[in-house]
C-alpha cells in the first residue's frame, strides 16, 4: 500500500517538475522535488521500508528517478551517485515516462492517523516512553487495524491497535480523523494527572487573586488607558474559565 502511494507521489512530482520547468517556474520545480525527496521519500517511505522490508527493487527504481529529476538542479552529486551503481552517464539519461499510478490514497489515511497520534501526544505532553493502546472507531477502523505494524512502528508510541463499535469508557485522548476516531488508552496516569491539575489550580488561583486586587483598585481603574484595562479584564475572565475547567476535571 505504501508502495502504491509513493509511486503515485512520484508520478505527480514528475509531472509537476516537468511542467514547472517548461513554464520557467524553477523554484516551484525545486520545491516540489524537495518535498518529495525529503518529506515523502525520506520521512515516510524509507521509514515504512524499514518495517515492511524487501523493497530494494522499488527503492532503486525511485532513487533512479529522483536522481534523474534532480540532475538539472544539482548535477555533480547526482552524477556521482549515479555512477556508483550504473554504467551509463546520468547527464544523457532520458526522463522516464512515469505511468499514471493510483491506489495510494489509503496510505494517506495511515499517514493522517500517525500524524494525528503524534500531535495528540505532544499536545498532551505524554512522555515519549509511555506506550499507549489505540482503539479505533469508524469507517477506517479495519484498515488501521490491518496496518497496525506501521501504526505501531512509526514513532507513535502505540503498542496495540484494536477496533471497536463505540468509544471506550476509560479515560482516553481522542484523535478525530473525519468520521474515524482513535482513542489513546493508557496515556493518562490518573495520579500524576491529578497532581498536575492540582498544581495548575493553585497557580491559577494565585493569578486570579492578584489580578482581582488590581482591578478593584480605583486609582488603577481610573488612570489606566482603556485598552490596558480591557486586556486585564479579559485575562481575568480567561483565568476564571480555565479554573472552572480544571475543577470539573478534578471532580470527574
Amino acid at each position: 500500500m505504501a508502495d502504491k502511494w509513493i509511486l503515485q507521489e512520484l508520478a505527480m512530482t514528475r509531472k509537476t517538475v516537468d511542467e514547472s520547468i517548461r513554464n520557467f517556474e524553477f523554484a516551484a520545480a525545486a520545491d516540489s522535488l524537495h518535498d518529495f525527496t525529503w518529506n515523502k521519500l525520506a520521512d515516510w517511505y524509507l521509514e515504512v521500508a524499514k518495517i515492511e522490508k524487501e523493497k530494494s527493487s522499488i527503492l532503486i527504481y525511485i532513487l533512479k528517478n529522483v536522481l534523474i529529476m534532480w540532475h538539472p538542479f544539482i548535477p555533480y552529486v547526482t552524477e556521482t551517485l549515479w555512477e556508483s551503481f550504473n554504467d551509463d552517464i546520468l547527464m544523457m539519461k532520458q526522463w522516464p515516462a512515469v505511468a499514471e499510478a493510483t491506489g495510494g490514497d489509503s496510505f494517506a489515511v495511515i499517514q493522517e492517523a500517525i500524524t494525528g497520534i503524534r500531535n495528540a501526544r505532544s499536545e498532551n505532553k505524554i512522555e515519549p516512553a509511555r506506550k499507549v493502546k489505540a482503539v479505533v472507531v469508524g469507517p477506517n477502523a479495519d484498515l488501521l487495524v490491518e496496518q497496525a505494524a506501521l501504526l505501531c512502528g512509526l514513532r507513535t508510541g502505540v503498542e496495540a491497535v484494536e477496533s471497536a463499535q463505540s468509544a471506550p469508557n476509560e479515560a482516553a485522548i481522542r484523535v478525530v480523523l473525519g468520521e474515524t476516531e482513535i482513542y489513546l488508552l493508557g496515556a493518562v496516569d490518573p495520579e500524576k494527572e491529578k497532581a498536575r491539575l492540582s498544581k495548575e489550580k493553585e497557580n491559577l488561583e494565585k493569578l486570579i487573586a492578584g489580578l482581582s486586587i488590581r482591578l478593584e483598585n480605583q486609582e488603577f481603574v481610573s488612570r489606566a488607558p482603556a485598552h490596558i484595562l480591557k486586556a486585564e479584564q479579559d485575562k481575568l475572565a480567561r483565568y476564571q474559565s480555565e479554573l472552572a475547567n480544571i475543577n470539573d476535571a478534578l471532580k470527574a
Binding site: 520547468i21 520557467f24 524553477f26 523554484a27 525545486a30 520545491d31 524537495h34 525527496t37 525529503w38 521519500l41 525520506a42 524509507l46 532513487l63 529522483v66 536522481l67 534523474i68 534532480w70 540532475h71 538539472p72 538542479f73 544539482i74 548535477p75 555533480y76 552529486v77 547526482t78 552524477e79 556521482t80 551517485l81 555512477e83 556508483s84 551503481f85 550504473n86 552517464i89 547527464m91 544523457m92 539519461k93 532520458q94 526522463w95
Partner: protein, 594 residues
C-alpha cells in the same frame, strides 16, 4: 551499490572529475549525441560576460538557471546546444586597463600609444577570460566548448564588418553630425542609455544678453550662451509673440551675437522667463530646433570641455571658469535679474561619473526609422515592435514586454561610433571630403581609415547568429549549417537591466540580418542582493566570490540556493546560511541514496 561511498558527501573529491567525465563524453556538443533527425532543437546562447572582471554570484545564478533548462531539455530528447562566449566590452575594458596602467606605471594610454596599449589590453583580456571560463566550468555549466566565441575574435570581426556593410548598403547606417553625449574624461561618445542622471542642486540664472535686448532668458549654463543663435518662445505667449521672425544683433559679454526669435509650441511659458536661448551646438533639443528653423550652429565648447578659440577672453577657460566669469560680468553690468537654486537633472558618464558635454560631432549612426528593403520596406523599429506586439517573442515576466515596446517606440537613431581604441574597427576610409565604405581599403593614395571603433552593443547585438556561423552559412536568404539547425534560439535568459541595451538590439539586428527573431522567449532574472537586501559591490565589500563558496559548500549547494529563490524579474537575496541549508539537503540526498 557498485562502488562503496563515504557516509558524507565531500563535493571537492568529485566535482572536477565529474566535470571532466562530462566533457570527455562529448555530449555537451549536440552533434555527438545519437539523436534522430526529427529531434527538435533547443538552443540557448549564454549572455557573454564582460571580460572586465571575474564572475560574481549574479553570474552564478544565471549559469544555474540556464544549465537547469539546458540539462532538462538534453535529458528530454532535444538537440540541445548552449553556446559559451565572452564579451570584449569595449569602453569598460579600455577604462579598466587605463586605470591599471595608471596605477602600475603612471602612464596614460596616449603616452603608451595605440598599438602598445592594445597589447596591454590583450594581456588583460587573456587573464580575465581564463578566470571567467574556469569559474563557468566550476559551476557545472554544460556548455559546448567547441563553439566558444568572443565578441571580438576573428569570426565575429568578419560578421561585424559584413553587418556594417549590409546596413550601409541599405542606407540604414549613415554618417552625420549630431549632438552626441560626450564624456570629456573618457574622450568618447556615450549612447543615451550609457548616460546616468543625477538629481542635484543647480543655479538657474535669469538675465538679459545686453541692456537693449528686449527679452530676458533663464539658463543653468550661461557659458553656452556664447553660441546662441536663436531665441525660442511659445507662439501663444503674448509678451513675446510680436518678436517672432525678428533677427536681433546684440552684444553679449563683449561678443557679438545674432539672435533669431523663433516660435516653438514646446516652450513652457511659465518656466523661467518663458523664453529659451537656443544653443544648437550644445543641446540635443536645440539642435533639432536649429535643423527645423535653419539656425546657424556655433560650437563653443571643445572635446576637452574648454571654450574654443574665437571667444575672446573666455577662450581656453573650462566651462566652469567661463560660467563664473560670465556670471560676475553680467552682475557687474547690472544685467543679472535673478539667481535661484533649482533641482536639476545632471547627465553623467555611467563609466566614470564625469558630467556629460553635449557636442556636435561626425558620427556613424543606425537609423531606426529608415525603411529597409530587406525588411519589406519597414524600419528596424517597426519590425522590432511588430514581433513583440504579435507575441512572437514572449517576455517573462510579461510586464517587460510593455517596457520593451515603450522603449522601442521612443527610440532615436543609435550612434554606433566610439572614440576609443579597443573594439571593432569601422570599415570606412576618408580622403579630404571623400568617404569610402567597403571590405578593404580603397585603391589610391591618401586614404585614412576611421580611427573610431564600434559601440560594444553592435557586436553583442549580433550574438545569436554571429555565434552560429553567420555570415558564412547564410546565402541568398537561405540558412545552412548551425544557423539552420539552431536559430532562432529558444530562450534568452538575462538580467532585466539590459533589456533595452542588449535585448532590443538583438531583436533589431537579427530581423535585419536574417529576417527572423533571435529568440522565442526572454526570461529576465533579477539582481542578487546581499542578505540584508543591499546591492553587492566591490566598494561595499559585500560581494561574493562564487569560487570561495563552491570550495566551501560545493557547486550543487550554491546552484540550489540560487535556484530555489529564483522568480523572473524579481531581485533575490543571497546568504551563506541558505547555501549551507542546501548543502545539508545535498547530504540528505546522499544519505538516502547510499
Amino acid at each position: 551499490m557498485k562502488n562503496e561511498l563515504d557516509k558524507t558527501y565531500d563535493s571537492s573529491l568529485f566535482e572536477d572529475s565529474i566535470y571532466a567525465k562530462w566533457e570527455k563524453s562529448g555530449f555537451f556538443n549536440p552533434d555527438l549525441s545519437n539523436l534522430p533527425d526529427f529531434a527538435p532543437s533547443y538552443t540557448v546562447i549564454l549572455p557573454p560576460p564582460n571580460i572586465t572582471a571575474k564572475l560574481h554570484i549574479g553570474h552564478s545564478a544565471m549559469l544555474a538557471i540556464e544549465d537547469l533548462m539546458v540539462r532538462f531539455h538534453r535529458q528530454n530528447g532535444y538537440r540541445t546546444l548552449w553556446v559559451p562566449g565572452t564579451d570584449h566590452a569595449a569602453i569598460a575594458t579600455q577604462n579598466m586597463v587605463e586605470k591599471k596602467l595608471m596605477t602600475e606605471t603612471g602612464k596614460t594610454r596616449h603616452a603608451l600609444g595605440r598599438e602598445a596599449f592594445l597589447k596591454e589590453v590583450d594581456i588583460f583580456v587573456e587573464n580575465t577570460q581564463a578566470t571567467i571560463l574556469k569559474q563557468t566550468r566550476k559551476m557545472g555549466a554544460s556548455l559546448d566548448w567547441s563553439r566558444l566565441a568572443f565578441t571580438l575574435d576573428e569570426q565575429r570581426q568578419k560578421a561585424v564588418k559584413r553587418m556594417f556593410l549590409d546596413m550601409h548598403r541599405e542606407g540604414v547606417i549613415y554618417r552625420g553630425e549630431r549632438i552626441v553625449n560626450w564624456c570629456p574624461r573618457c574622450q568618447s561618445t556615450l549612447a543615451d542609455d550609457e548616460v546616468e542622471h543625477k538629481e542635484q542642486k543647480a543655479k538657474l540664472y535669469t538675465f538679459k544678453y545686453s541692456a537693449d535686448f528686449p527679452i530676458p532668458i533663464s539658463t543653468t549654463r550661461p557659458e553656452t550662451k556664447l553660441g546662441d543663435t536663436g531665441l525660442a518662445v511659445n507662439p501663444k505667449d503674448e509678451r513675446y509673440s510680436k518678436y517672432i521672425g525678428e533677427e536681433i544683433e546684440t552684444d553679449f559679454c563683449g561678443l557679438k551675437l545674432k539672435i533669431k526669435v523663433i516660435g516653438d509650441r514646446k516652450v513652457e511659458m511659465d518656466f523661467g522667463t518663458g523664453a529659451l536661448g537656443v544653443t544648437p551646438a550644445h543641446s540635443a533639443v536645440d539642435w533639432q530646433m536649429a535643423e527645423a528653423q535653419d539656425l546657424k550652429k556655433i560650437k563653443v565648447i571643445d572635446e576637452a570641455g574648454k571654450i574654443k578659440d574665437g571667444f575672446g577672453e573666455f577662450s581656453g577657460l573650462s566651462t566652469l571658469e567661463a560660467r563664473e566669469k560670465i556670471v560676475s560680468q553680467l552682475s557687474a553690468d547690472g544685467l543679472m535679474i535673478k539667481e535661484e537654486e533649482i533641482e536639476n537633472n545632471l547627465s553623467c558618464c555611467y563609466r566614470c561619473g564625469s558630467v556629460i558635454e553635449p557636442l556636435p560631432s561626425l558620427q556613424w549612426f543606425i537609423s531606426v526609422d529608415a525603411p529597409a528593403s530587406r525588411l519589406n520596406g519597414r524600419s528596424m523599429k517597426e519590425a522590432a515592435l511588430e514581433v513583440a506586439k504579435n507575441n512572437e517573442i514572449k517576455f517573462l515576466p510579461d510586464r517587460f514586454g510593455k517596457r520593451y515596446i515603450d522603449w522601442m517606440e521612443n527610440l532615436h537613431d543609435w550612434c554606433i561610433s566610439r572614440q576609443i581604441w579597443f573594439g571593432h574597427s569601422i570599415p570606412a576610409w576618408y580622403r579630404g571630403e571623400e568617404t569610402y565604405v567597403g571590405e578593404e581599403a580603397p585603391e589610391g593614395e591618401g586614404w585614412v581609415m576611421d580611427t573610431d571603433t564600434l559601440d560594444t552593443w553592435f557586436s553583442s547585438g549580433m550574438w545569436t547568429f554571429s555565434t552560429l556561423g553567420w555570415p558564412d552559412n547564410f546565402e541568398n536568404g537561405v540558412k545552412s549549417g548551425d544557423l539552420a539547425r539552431f536559430h532562432p534560439t529558444q530562450v534568452l535568459e538575462t538580467g532585466y537591466e539590459i533589456l533595452t541595451l542588449w535585448v532590443s538590439r538583438m531583436v533589431m539586428m537579427s530581423l535585419f540580418a536574417i529576417g527572423e527573431i533571435p529568440f522565442e522567449h526572454v526570461y529576465l532574472h533579477g539582481t542578487i542582493l546581499d542578505a540584508k537586501g543591499k546591492k553587492m559591490s566591490k566598494s561595499k565589500g559585500n560581494g561574493v566570490d562564487p569560487l570561495e563558496v563552491i570550495e566551501k559548500y560545493g557547486a550543487d549547494a550554491v546552484r540550489l540556493s540560487l535556484l530555489m529563490g529564483a522568480t523572473p524579474g524579481n531581485d533575490a537575496r543571497y546568504s551563506e546560511e541558505k547555501v549551507e541549508s542546501k548543502r545539508n539537503f545535498v547530504n540528505k540526498l546522499w544519505n538516502i541514496s547510499i
